[in-house]
Symmetry: C2
Subunit: 505 residues, 2 copies
């Protein structure tokens, strides 16, 4: 008879092998988005499809099920919050989900979404939804099949997809968080519009030499705590962060000579993800304890650095002199207050990733509103552009002039990320709540930031959040760290505070 | 009973899966050399070690042996030169070799050589052989174990390693080719030295802005036929070419502001490899027919473009005006004849990859002379620096001032490439013989090159060599294409012709 320790050790070895294989796939995915020549797309799809099948095979090997069965009644699960119990709990969850999916479906999803991403790139470039529609049809069909196969106790197929990105979450729960947020945001945005005040955004559309943007973004990202000894920053059409494993985390961004915020805040955002990845316990790589808690928690880390830190006064008290020196032609004589207002401009716009902190959440609610009927089968892919534009007009009072600025703007559906979008607004809510708690714990947080001292906040996040990996579920983690259940209130308070000062409302 | 067609189809599918997995490993290897941050080394070693084990498992799965057994007496092997027979023959060779190697040895070699490469980088930087010696000891021990396990009919363990890179080749055969070459080269090099003429190499050490070098190298590489739709050019400390599979081939080079030839001829060289990779039949990917014939043939393609084309008068008749315009400060008023002589300078030097066409082969012979006793166990790794310097002095009349310019200069041993070096001089011999045949078949080849018309030569190579993959063994292929057995004579004739004109000897 093998001891529980032997069984547990065998389990973690098996999980680590699967994770190592997944990390190989991550390298190929990164290369595909950054450096791969056009001609390599088909072979890359074959490589990734094969790896997806192998990962699935490893994740579902019956031996893992046996080990989990044997361990379920062992001493390791007696104390449910112990590291071992948490690893067993989350491994069981992953195993149960994975064993329900047949290898054929996993490989097909990988193949279709790899090719679908290329189709999406071409469709967006041509602003021609018809080039992407057949792929969206295939993807929705496969994701619906995934939902049916995985199952959903709630009666709502969409919940089965949500659960992949935000374990334990449901559409009903998200609706109950989003509704009061929307009810607070809509009048706030209306008041800003009615104030008649317009931020001097032309400041940010002057000349910002790419090389200087690259240096400055990298400098700031390093300064807040992303390690370039264990990471990189490259360029990609759709910026992302990919943690390959201990000691190697890749960020990407995109530069626009006449748009300062895109690359700069994009880099801060991805750095927040990267600092989380770099803060996960290295020795636990491959097990749930070495993995991020959820996408919502992941997003909270990127939003916290991008918005709560990076779009704050204190941050620019520290960085603005450097920015003025590096972009002397465009910012040399620009007043601090004008720059600060420009980076906090609020106005309806078409592109989610360029949206301000307030309207951003409406972009997410729109996608959440479309994805649910798409998965339920009550909205057809062919009708997406029409419904998108109609809903957009209702939310924002403006209509996208074309699909590139409408329903083709995001990569997510093309990679099968249906149920992914809500995690962005969950991330904003988590971020607000974490930032509020950090400010309470660390004393004068704006004072530290204004002096360029980011280590206290980074260390606080490392200790309170990163080091736990998946030990606690997202909402429980938030409650433990902040003392409160997740709520829309800290986010609303943050936005009201910032904008009442800027817009005098 | 499965038909022979069904068995053959199953075999090629199995081979393609193994090759796809190997191509995944190639992506990770490329990333490791080009973009990976320092901190990623250990996890990358784990990833590559795991993949090496999986590739080995796929390559040695007993089903492949069964399929080969059943196919060996089938209709497919009746005509031994048919594509199917060639695939079966080479698959059998690979299977036999692979099944002899235990997975433990394969994984250990992968792990040790991945870490060994990092140790080599540090050792070379510090010019401190002691940092690399323990790794070389481990690697030689493992390679010796590999030789013993694979076996060698000849009684010479080194032959077992050679055979991996140049199928069917032996140390005795290589010695019989190298000896007359050395007997011709030594007096040729002596005559050049005795001529008292010294090429104006300072021309190439002027200022060559990196951006212009990058553009010019890429331009020339594209012009001779490397497709950037299906490939890239990046930077790496030790330049290489890696074909990932159909439609994706990566070249690397390194730039030095004060040394024009390094990046330029390096890029032409790697482009030659890349044109071969891009010329392999796409539909045969994964099978021997879709793979390069041997490393010697591979090297013949790089040498042909680098030296026979790229260091020729005709090539610069076409490119020199562009080079003068792009590097106006350094070449604007430099005479064609001086530039041409400078790029064809012959003199003893320490670094193999910077050596001229004539002395280069002596660098290879030195390595061939050291590797044999290293594998036989009559030379200890600890004694390598001493024996290297002694042999070098005997060959070149000068002594390396340190190990970075001596026995630490090459990456090969650190990745386990013992038995690899001889393929470089074999490549020079193949290249000379192919170029002579192409010139005979194409009529006025220098005339075409001088007009910038490279397609006839590229198409000739595609048709005569690339399209066959591994259908014919290297020496047989050379004999079929050129009408002659492989010999040192075309290479000697080429060098004598070029240098008698330049040095008046």
């Amino acid at each position: 008879m093998a001891s529980a320790a032997e069984l547990y050790s065998e389990l973690t070895q098996k999980l680590t092998t699967t994770a190592t294989l997944a990390s190989v796939s991550a390298v190929l995915g990164w290369d595909e988005q950054t450096y791969m020549p056009h001609g390599g797309a088909e072979h890359r799809a074959n490589q990734l499809g094969m790896l997806a099948g192998m990962i699935h095979e490893h994740a579902t090997t019956p031996r893992v099920g046996e080990l989990l069965d044997e361990l379920s009644g062992s001493e390791y699960t007696k104390s449910p919050d112990s590291p071992e119990a948490a690893n067993i709990r989350e491994a069981q969850r992953d195993y149960t989900r994975a064993t329900k999916l047949p290898r054929r479906l996993v490989e097909e999803l990988s193949r279709v979404t790899t090719l679908g991403q290329h189709a999406w790139i071409d469709a967006r470039k041509a602003s021609d939804f018809s080039k992407f529609q057949p792929w969206l049809e295939k993807i929705v069909k496969l994701k619906r099949e995934e939902a049916e196969t995985v199952g959903y106790g709630s009666g709502v197929p969409y919940d089965a997809l949500l659960d992949e990105f935000e374990p334990g979450s449901t559409a009903a729960e998200i609706t109950s968080l989003f509704t009061p947020l929307r009810d607070a945001l809509v009048p706030l945005i209306a008041k800003i519009r009615e104030s008649g005040k317009v931020a001097p955004v032309e400041i940010l559309e002057r000349s910002f030499p790419i090389d200087a943007q690259r240096s400055f973004s990298k400098y700031a990202s390093q300064k807040i705590g992303f390690s370039y000894e264990e990471g990189r920053l490259d360029e990609a059409a759709h910026p992302f962060c990919s943690g390959f494993g201990p000691g190697d985390c890749r960020l990407t961004t995109r530069y626009n000579f006449h748009h300062f915020p895109g690359a700069f805040f994009g880099t801060l955002h991805e750095s927040g993800h990267g600092i989380y990845e770099q803060g996960l316990p290295k020795g636990a790589f491959g097990t749930p304890l070495g993995s991020a808690a959820s996408l919502g928690i992941h997003e909270s880390q990127s939003r916290l650095w991008e918005n709560f830190v990076g779009r704050g006064r204190a941050f620019w008290n520290h960085f603005y002199p450097t920015a003025q020196a590096m972009f002397a032609e465009s910012l040399g004589t620009t007043r601090f207050d004008d720059f600060y207002w420009a980076i906090n401009d609020v106005r309806p716009s078409f592109i989610r990733v360029e949206a301000d902190e307030a309207t951003y959440n409406l972009h997410i609610m729109l996608r959440f509103e479309l994805e649910q009927p798409l998965v339920a089968g009550t909205l057809q892919p062919a009708d997406v552009p029409g419904v998108w534009n109609e809903t957009f007009t209702r939310y924002f009072g403006i209509t996208p002039p074309n699909d590139a600025q409408g329903c083709l703007q995001d990569i997510h559906w093309s990679f099968g990320g249906i149920g992914y979008f809500p995690t962005y607004t969950l991330g904003n809510m988590f971020a607000a709540q974490f930032y509020e708690a950090a400010a309470r714990d660390l004393g004068d947080l704006p004072g530290l930031i204004a002096k360029g001292e980011f280590a206290p906040l980074k260390n606080w996040l490392n200790e309170k959040i990163h080091t736990h990996g998946k030990r606690y579920r997202a909402q429980r983690l938030a409650e433990m760290v902040t003392g409160h259940k997740l709520s829309h209130e800290p986010l609303v308070k943050h936005l009201q505070g910032k904008y009442s000062e800027l817009y005098g409302i």
